[in-house]
Amino acid sequence: MKNVFSRNLSKKQVMSTDGMVIGTIRNIMIDLDTGNVESLVVRPEQGFDTGGYKVDGERLFIPFEAVRDIKDYIVVDRYLSKE
């Protein structure tokens, strides 16, 4: 059981399980009816190859299922984070 305050997540970097920094978290999408956390909204790093990811303009979406752990970084699964 691990709880985090969402404001603690702001400005945290998102790292893939292959060690690549994807970007900085901008926001979190939630479903208000179910209370489920749907996805992370990430601003990709300069020069990051966003191929395979769900992208909308400057925003990159990572499904919350991909999140492995949250400490100093937000670590996401390299396969689950792609579409």
Binding site: N3, M29, L32
Partner: protein, 87 residues
């Protein structure tokens, strides 16, 4: 309805008996269950709570009834003992 979590911050929280509780400061996420467990509510209505050494309360997500321009939560008489509006 999907929404950005930052859209909730600053929203007013009322009970379904139209009692103001406070403003949303933060949300508490559970990483394991991938759910929103609580909303942290600050700027509390001083008539409801004796604020001795704390600034806010955590409201379980399951007592939220609806979210629109404001957030409506269920009203518990035991939760708000100092209110004299109950019948």
């Amino acid at each position: 309805m999907k929404t950005q979590i930052t859209d909730l911050f600053g929203m007013d929280v009322y009970t379904d008996k139209a009692v103001r509780v406070g403003n949303v400061d933060d949300a508490v996420l559970n990483v394991d269950t991938k759910k929103v467990d609580f909303l942290a509510v600050g700027n509390l209505n001083p008539d409801l709570f004796q604020l001795k050494g704390f600034k806010g309360i955590r409201i379980p997500f399951r007592i939220i009834k609806s979210v629109g321009d404001v957030i409506i939560i269920r009203h518990f008489n035991s939760m708000f003992p100092s209110q004299g509006i109950e019948d």
